[in-house]
């Protein structure tokens, strides 16, 4: 992110929140400084407030009916489209990760590639998870009985603090692939790749409100998301250890489905189905089979 090339002053980007398909600043008007790995100034990020979180949950709820009602084939293509667009912005992501984490280019490239491939992996699951997880059940009676997975609803995600892009994708994609909508709080220290990704999402085919990205502090936003009665599930991966239990307790008020009780995850490894399954309910239907 060189600031000037041959005397030209670069046009810097303003990093904002992503809520309901729009890019507002925090309603609180606050921001915080994001630094590079050497402590130098990178950018200001919006410091989301509880009201931003509330708005993001509303936007996610509003988007749920349409997104969960889309065909699995359609959701798969939409996720694949995100991968395509990221590929086009590959160098931007590489340089953002390098600047933020202070890692070498080959390592940064590997993270970006893995993040793109993760979208592709999940895109493929969209129209297969029901086949793998659904069943027809041979009940003793004149009924055709089948079980199928359905999205839980609105998922709040505290994205991992490390792994600003691959980790972020690895916690968002498994929620939305099956039709959930998410409110995700990006890594506090490394929020910029997430904001850039939200720009990719805004220009992709992901409908507004399906992914809502907040930047800010877990201790401030996390409790509001964990206690929000219109949030159906929560990923506590990005929560600090001393806060995780409290958030888990708050999440019981409306029986949120909870993942991320331990923070350590190897994001580079091929995921298991566990995250996807946490955000899926099994619905069983009894349909009469008779004249």
């Amino acid at each position: 992110m060189s600031d000037s090339v041959a005397g030209r002053v670069a046009v810097r980007k303003t990093y904002k929140l992503y809520i309901g398909g729009a890019f507002p600043r925090s309603e609180s008007g606050r921001s915080y400084v994001v630094s590079d790995s050497h402590g130098g100034f990178l950018a200001n990020a919006a410091l989301a407030s509880r009201k931003d979180a509330r708005d993001a949950v509303s936007a996610a709820r509003k988007a749920f009916a349409g997104w969960s009602g889309a065909t699995a084939y359609n959701r798969g293509q939409v996720l694949y489209r995100v991968a395509e667009l990221m590929e086009g912005r590959r160098s931007q992501f590489v340089s953002e990760i390098r600047a933020a984490e202070g890692i070498g280019s080959s390592k940064a490239e590997a993270f970006v590639d893995a993040a793109i491939d993760r979208w592709v992996w999940y895109a493929g699951w969209a129209d297969k998870i029901a086949q793998v997880r659904g069943s027809s059940n041979p009940v003793a009676g004149p009924y055709f009985n089948f079980s199928l997975p359905e999205p839980t609803g609105v998922v709040a995600v505290l994205a991992p603090q490390r792994g600003p892009l691959l980790g972020f994708v690895s916690v968002v994609a498994p929620a939305i692939v099956s039709g959930n909508t998410v409110v995700v709080l990006a890594s506090e220290q490394y929020p910029l790749p997430a904001v850039t990704l939200s720009e990719v999402l805004a220009t992709s085919d992901v409908p507004g409100g399906v992914v809502n990205v907040l930047t800010g502090r877990v201790p401030e936003i996390g409790p509001w998301l964990a206690s929000h009665m219109d949030v159906n599930a929560i990923d506590l991966t990005g929560a600090p250890d001393d806060l995780r239990d409290d958030l888990a307790v708050a999440a019981t008020d409306n029986l949120k489905r909870v993942v991320g009780l331990s923070a350590s995850t190897d994001w580079a490894a091929t995921p298991t189905l566990d995250r996807m399954l946490t955000y899926l309910e099994t619905k069983t239907v009894w349909h009469p089979a008779a004249m």
Binding site: S135, G141, S147, L255, V285, W286, P288
Partner: protein, 492 residues
């Protein structure tokens, strides 16, 4: 019989009188009750360390049936210790052999089916017709179904290596005492776990009778331990550090307490909690069968059913006909001695539950809903509540929102399918729902929009060991039954 779509006018009344009154037909099989039931720990019946017992009564006449041991923390510790000792050999046993024990249990239960049905009816108040035709055979069916899974763990979650979790703590409710025990025990054992189980305070007897069957089956000591008691015992079972997983069926209120208690411990949990199910009747529905389904939905087991169809949503165009048919049908329900083979509606399980049903029903009236019950004489002793319908109920009324867990139906209306979905989903619960229509495509359209774990089309309150059961939202998480139900008892 002109158009179904017009409210019936000038209905000539029918007489459902006593021209042919049935003589009492009590079931006379001996329930073989013991005067005192001890704890079942390590394969033996042992006295509680507390030395305390409490009475289990017949809610139909308030007579004491037996003294039941009250397990304290030390007893719960002993149960977990016995289970932990048993776990090694039990989990190492070939699945094929584990399965044989479950098959044996199923068979032994079938052998003593009538005896168990009578005991269940005496202890819980449910009609013998239900305990005989539903609870006991369905409990045996669950053991049969899961027995066959015991040597097929690798097929539960294909691609993953699966093994048992360890010792599982289970707390079950009083509405289907034996059946809930079967729902809980059979998958846990099939997957190679050991169990500490606590029956509900008011209905311990069939669990302890089943312990006799476990002995007869030769189940290794400690694989199943049954500790009886009230909430304190339940809390000790759920909170015990020896539990690798806990499973609870009961109220949402208590479920949340347990979850708070265990939040952050990483303890695996499955919760099967309350419900306020919508039963949606469309104008083209087969009305007589819908009425039957409404009756099954809310008056089955006196409405002590978490998935009960307690909110009836009727399309306005058939409202009058449905209500008239429903009232007529209720006029033929027979309330009384649960042991009488012709009884349709039995006793309320406990004085406390009766008080809760009364309180919410009185509230329904106070809030302006119209209350109706068929003429029926309630026995003088015991806990009784007549089948009750509230019409003119609004979404805002507490009887439309809170789980009553009794024979009380709240009737609301709707005009369009979308409105039906909106009203049906307007609840923190999401356990079950019913849809009545002749249009198959509408059934599936509704089924995909109802936020509920079980959707019954043109039927209600049907269960099967192969059919996963469990809730959305505040009705719980995890499934019981089918392949899905096994996952909660496996470490993959």
């Amino acid at each position: 019989m002109p158009s179904k779509r017009q409210p019936a006018r000038g209905r000539a009344g029918l007489i459902f009188g006593d021209l042919w009154e049935f003589d009492p037909a009590p079931e006379t099989a001996d329930p073989r009750l013991k005067p005192r039931y001890d704890l079942f720990i390590g394969g033996k019946f042992v006295r509680p360390r507390s030395g305390k017992y409490f009475a289990s009564i017949n809610p139909a006449n308030e007579r004491k049936l037996a003294d039941i041991a009250l397990a304290g923390p030390a007893d719960v510790d002993a149960a977990y210790a016995a289970a932990a000792r048993a776990f090694g050999p039990w989990s190492a046993l070939h699945g094929r052999e584990r399965g044989k024990y479950l098959f044996r249990i199923a068979r032994l239960l079938q052998d003593r089916a009538r005896e168990f049905a009578v005991a269940e009816t005496m202890d819980g108040g449910k009609p013998i017709r239900e305990s005989r035709d539903f609870d006991v055979p369905m409990a045996a069916a669950h053991f049969f179904y899961h027995a066959g899974w015991a040597d097929k763990l690798d097929y539960v979650a294909p691609g993953r290596t699966a093994g048992p979790l360890g010792v599982v703590g289970q707390v079950i409710p009083w509405n289907f005492p034996l059946l809930m025990l079967a729902w809980k025990l059979s998958p846990a054992l099939a997957m190679g776990n050991c169990v500490v189980l606590k029956p509900a305070e008011t209905t311990s007897i069939t669990a302890l009778k089943l312990a006799e069957i476990l002995q007869d089956a030769g189940l290794p000591p400690g694989v199943v331990n049954i500790v009886t008691g009230a909430g304190g015992t339940g809390s000790a079972v759920m909170g015990h550090p020896g539990a690798a997983k806990v499973a609870f069926t009961g109220s949402t209120e208590v479920g949340k307490l347990i979850m708070r208690q265990l939040a952050g411990t990483g303890r695996r949990m499955t919760m099967e909690l309350g419900g306020k199910a919508a039963n949606v009747v469309f104008e083209d529905a087969p009305i007589d069968q819908a009425v039957e389904g409404i009756v099954n939905g809310i008056f089955f087991n006196q409405g002590h059913v978490c998935c009960a169809g307690s909110r009836l949503l009727v399309q306005e165009s058939v409202y009058d006909e449905v209500i008239a048919s429903l009232r007529r049908r209720l006029g033929t329900l027979r309330l009384g001695d649960p042991l009488d083979k012709n009884t349709d509606v039995g006793a309320i399980n406990s004085a406390a539950q009766l008080a809760k049903i009364r309180e919410l029903s009185d509230l329904g009236e106070a809030e302006g809903a119209e209350r109706w019950s068929p003429p029926c004489d309630l026995p003088e002793r015991g806990f009784w509540f007549p089948p009750t319908i509230f019409t003119g109920v609004a979404q805002a009324h507490r009887i439309a929102r809170e789980e009553i867990f009794g024979p009380v139906l709240s009737v609301l209306t709707f005009r369009t399918p979308a409105e039906a979905v909106e009203k049906a989903n307007n609840t923190p619960y999401g356990l079950s729902a019913g849809v009545w229509t002749e249009k198959g495509s509408l059934i599936l359209w509704m089924a995909s929009r109802l936020r509920a774990g079980v959707v019954w089309a043109n039927t209600f309150n049907r269960f099967d060991p192969a059919s996963p059961f469990g809730g959305y939202k505040e009705s719980g998480y995890g499934r019981e039954g089918g392949r899905h139900g096994l996952e909660a008892y496996l470490d993959v």
